[in-house]
Symmetry: C2
Subunit: 195 residues, 2 copies
């Protein structure tokens, strides 16, 4: 099947192909209701012993909180993410249970929760664009993230611009990334990838 | 909205509520085509610099590879997962790029890929049930997982049994887990959760 310039060999739901880490955003805001709908989807993701380690810290554009999150990003990300509606920092709790037992899966589970958010966004025709290009240590201090929580990643949420945006960004968005072949990521019985 | 015994305050797609880590499985096999469809969905998940760190090692039931993966699980998981169609171990590459730079996000990205798999499975009416209850070190040796890759988690994939299964499992499945309130997982501006 073919969708969004991408070819899938197997009949997956189209949203996995149409979802894209878009760069050209309109600068329009989204509502608090829309944002909470994304977090609602995220928090139904599974986690070991239903520990739910994932936390989201967010700022809508045109609010006092925005600048603090905006300043965390490297300049290359600020360039396009300045037109986002919301910036989000995702963190996860390193321990679980009443005795604060170390969790081996909190980072993985944060990724699962975030992917639910990204898929709900795709269903709502919103862009979610993940980033590791930001100051992790500054995030910890400026967002008051305590010990025992890992800063995982940032994302920009917004509306896709198909015109009235930087030509360079529009051109980049017109070429969605491809993926490895399935033989390179899935194997029967044992690890037999050529790495 | 209400679905599968769960209440959502915001209008998310129903699949986030209907997806459940079901215990009672039928023992039926699934086809290689169905399994590859799940990996196809997984591998379109985003990753930093499109590094695609996630790898899946799998075994269908009734194949020579099955026993090796089955023996990794703790007895409590073997009890129900013996009726799975496929067992999968998810691992992720710790580095990225030609210079093998450490990746701060590989575990998170593996979780994102796995969640795509779980959502595609829900669309196909298949169960995907994640587990951390297995021998991580034994997985490394018995599946030949090399240094530089992190063993993340296992999952069982199968078909949901609604009868002809252990009553204890059916009763457990009849009570899907709930989640924290959104105030406990999302905050504006800074980390302000009561942890």
């Amino acid at each position: 099947m073919f969708c969004n310039g991408r070819t899938a060999l197997y009949p997956i739901n189209e949203l996995f192909l149409s979802r894209q880490s878009v760069y050209a955003l309109t600068g329009e805001a989204i509502s608090q209701e829309q944002l909470m709908t994304l977090f609602e989807a995220a928090h139904w993701a599974p986690s070991s012993y239903n520990n739910q380690p994932t936390r989201f810290i967010y700022a809508h554009c045109n609010t006092p909180e925005w600048q603090n999150l905006f300043e965390l990003m490297v300049p290359a990300n600020q360039t396009w993410a300045q037109h986002a509606a919301v910036l989000v920092v995702t963190v996860s709790k390193q321990t679980m249970g009443p005795k604060n037992t170390p969790s081996p899966t909190h980072s993985f589970e944060a990724g699962a929760a975030w992917m639910s958010l990204a898929i709900q966004a795709e269903i709502m025709a919103l862009v979610v664009h993940g980033m590791s290009g930001f100051d992790y240590e500054k995030a910890r201090t400026s967002l008051c993230i305590p010990e025992g929580f890992t800063v995982q990643m940032m994302c920009a949420i917004g509306k896709r611009a198909t015109q009235h945006a930087e030509v360079k960004l529009l051109e980049r968005d017109a070429k969605p990334t491809s993926r490895k072949s399935l033989e390179e990521i899935a194997a029967a019985g044992k690890f037999s990838f050529n790495e």
